[in-house]
Symmetry: C2
Amino acid sequence: MPTINDVAKRANVSPVTVSRVLNGAPNVNDMTRLRVNRAIAELGYVPNIVARSLRSRRTRSIALILPDITNPFWPTVARGVEDAAQRDGYTVLLCNSDENAQKQARYLEAVISQQVDGVLIAPANSDAANLAPLRDRAIPTVVIDRRVDGWDGDAVRGDSVGGAELLTRHLIELGHRRIAMLSGPATTSTSQDRFAGYQAALQRAGIPLDPDLVRFGEFRQGSGAEMTHAVLALQPAPTAIFAANNAIALGAIQAVGERGLQVPQDVALVCFDDVSPSAQLFPFLTVAEQPAYQMGLEAARLLFARLDEGDAHPPRLITLPVRMIVRYSCGSGRGESILSLPLPHTAVVAA
Amino acid sequence: MPTINDVAKRANVSPVTVSRVLNGAPNVNDMTRLRVNRAIAELGYVPNIVARSLRSRRTRSIALILPDITNPFWPTVARGVEDAAQRDGYTVLLCNSDENAQKQARYLEAVISQQVDGVLIAPANSDAANLAPLRDRAIPTVVIDRRVDGWDGDAVRGDSVGGAELLTRHLIELGHRRIAMLSGPATTSTSQDRFAGYQAALQRAGIPLDPDLVRFGEFRQGSGAEMTHAVLALQPAPTAIFAANNAIALGAIQAVGERGLQVPQDVALVCFDDVSPSAQLFPFLTVAEQPAYQMGLEAARLLFARLDEGDAHPPRLITLPVRMIVRYSCGSGRGESILSLPLPHTAVVAA
DNA sequence: GCGTATCATGAAAACGATTCCATTATAGGA
DNA sequence: TCCTATAATGGAATCGTTTTCATGATACGC
C-alpha cells in the first residue's frame, strides 16, 4: 500500500505538503496541489486512518451502544444515528449490550480502546457507576432513551410518562378497570416512568392500584409471555394489558393465544413502541409510538455539537413527544380480530 | 489516559514487558506478570488499539458491506457475522451500500482507509471491476449471496436457482399457468439465478415463457408495487406472482390491494426470503427461505480461516440449501386471506 | 567445566500520519 | 531602501504500541 511518503516523492514535495492537500489546508500553491492530487490518483493512494488517528488523537468515530438489536425500535434509532454521522463524516461502531451491564462494561472498554471520539448509549440500567469509565476519561457522551441517576450530561428520551398515561387513559375510557402493567426491569428508567404514567392515569380515574397486576420482567417476548400467563391466572383476571414495550406485547399475544383467548375480545392490549414496518401490512397493535429515528438523529447531533464546542454549553436534555396510534388490539377499532382467524396451514419443504 | 509507559514505570519494567503481558506472551516471569497486571488495574489502563494497529498492521476488524439494511434479511446475515466475529475477537464495520455501486465504492475506500483485515460483501452488481480496490491490495474478501463474474475468491450463497424452481413448481402444481416473475436489477446474480430457476420450472412443465410476465426492477417495495401494477394490467393478467425477494412481495401485496384484489384469491403470491420475525405472528407469505444467519456465520468463518491461513487453500464456495415454507399467500393453505378482513380503524393521538 | 539452550528482559526502530516550528521568497507599506 | 506581513514549504518530533535484535543470567548435556 502506498503511503504519504510515496505520494510526496512522486509529486516532489514533502509529506507535510501532501498532508496539507489531504486536509484541505488553505496555504498550498494551486500548481502544487494539482501535482499532489495527480500523484494520489496515479498511486491509488488512500490515507491510513489508523496512523492519522494516532497522531491527531481524533478518530472521527463514535460508539452506539444499544440494549437489543433484535427489537426493531433500536435499529430505527441506529439508522437515525448513522444518517447524522454520515453527514458529518463520522463512523459508527454499533454494540449490542443485550440489556446486560457486564456485557455493556466490556463494550465500553472496547470502544475506549478504539479511541472513539464520543459515545451514544442506552444504558442497561440507571446506575451511573456503569458509566464511570466514560466520565473518568471525559469522553463526550449522550444518554439515549433512559435516565441515569445522578448523571447530568446530554440526553435524549421519549416522553415515557406521558405516553404511558395516554395508553392507560385510553383503556380506562374503553371501560377497563383491571389493567395489568407488564414492564421491563425495575432498574431501567423507562420501566419506572411508564409505570409512573400508568399509576397517574389510574389515580386520576380514581381506580386503586392493584400490586398483583403490576409485573417487572424483561423487555423480551419470552418474559412478556410469562408475565401474561401470570396475570391471566389471577382471580379476577385483568381485562386489559399494558405492555411496556413491543416485545412484551408480542409475548402477551402469544400467551393469550396459548390460553385459548383472543385479543382484543378477551383481553385488550396496548404497548409502547411500534413493531417492524413490514408487520404493518396487517395493522394490529395499538401503540404509543416514540420517534425512534428522530431520537437517534437528535442524539447524534447533540454529540457532534458537544464534540465541536467542548464544555461551552451546559448539558442539554431533549424530550421527544410520543403519539398514540389506535389500531385494533385495544378493542376500540372496528372489524374482528386477526387472531380469530384459523391459523393458516404452514408446511416446510426443502429444496 | 494512561499509556503503556505509565504502566511500565509503575511496575518497574520496560514497556516491552508490559506489551508481553498484554499479549499473553509465554516468557514472562510470574512475579513480573503479577506486578504488571496490578499496575494495569490500579491505573485503569486500556490499551490504545489505534497505536497497536499502526504498528502490528492488523486491526482485528472486518467490513461487512450490505445492500439494504432495511430489509430484515440483511440484519439477520449481519447477526451471523457479528456472532462469529465476537467469538474470534473481531470488530465488524457495517456499511449499507443501498444497492448503489458508487456508494459501495465510497465505502470500500473508507474501509480500506480504516485498514480492515478483511471484507465481507454482497456486491451491488456482478461486475468484478467494482472489487478491484480489494483485489489490488490483496485484501482477503468473501463474497456473500451473489456471484461476481470472473471472481474466483471465497464465496457463500444460497441456492437461488433451486429455490426459485421450487417456488415456481409449487405454483404450477396449484394449476397456475400465467406466473409473473418480478425481480431485482438484471445486473445482480440473484435476479439472474432466480429467473433461471423460474425458467427451468416452466420449461419442465412445458409452459412457454411469456416475456411480458418477466420484469426486472429493484429489490424494493416501491419497485415491487410498480411491477405488480404493470403485470396485472396485462390481458390476460397473471394468476400468480413470484417475487424475487420479500420487499418486492410486500410491494405486490400493496399493489394487489390498491387494485381492489386479494391475495391469494385473485392473485397467488410467493417470494424469496422470509420477512421479519415479528410479522410471523400472522404467518402469511409463502416463501423460499434462505438460511440468512448461517450465511453470515459461514461467510465470516471463511474469512477468518483465510486470514489465518493466507493463500494456502484454494478459494472455497459454500452453497446453502433453501427451503420452501408454504403458508397462505400461494393459495394452498386453508382458511381465508388475512387481507380479506376489513382494514382495522387506525387513529393517531398525540400525547 | 565448557559450550549451548532457554528464559527474562530491555533499547531502539518502526508503523504512517500530523503538528510544531523554522525557513525562504515575495509583496506591501513607510 | 528597509522592515514587516504573508504565503508556501519542509525538517524533526510525536502519537502509543509492537517488533527486532541484543544481552545477561541460569540450566543442561556431555
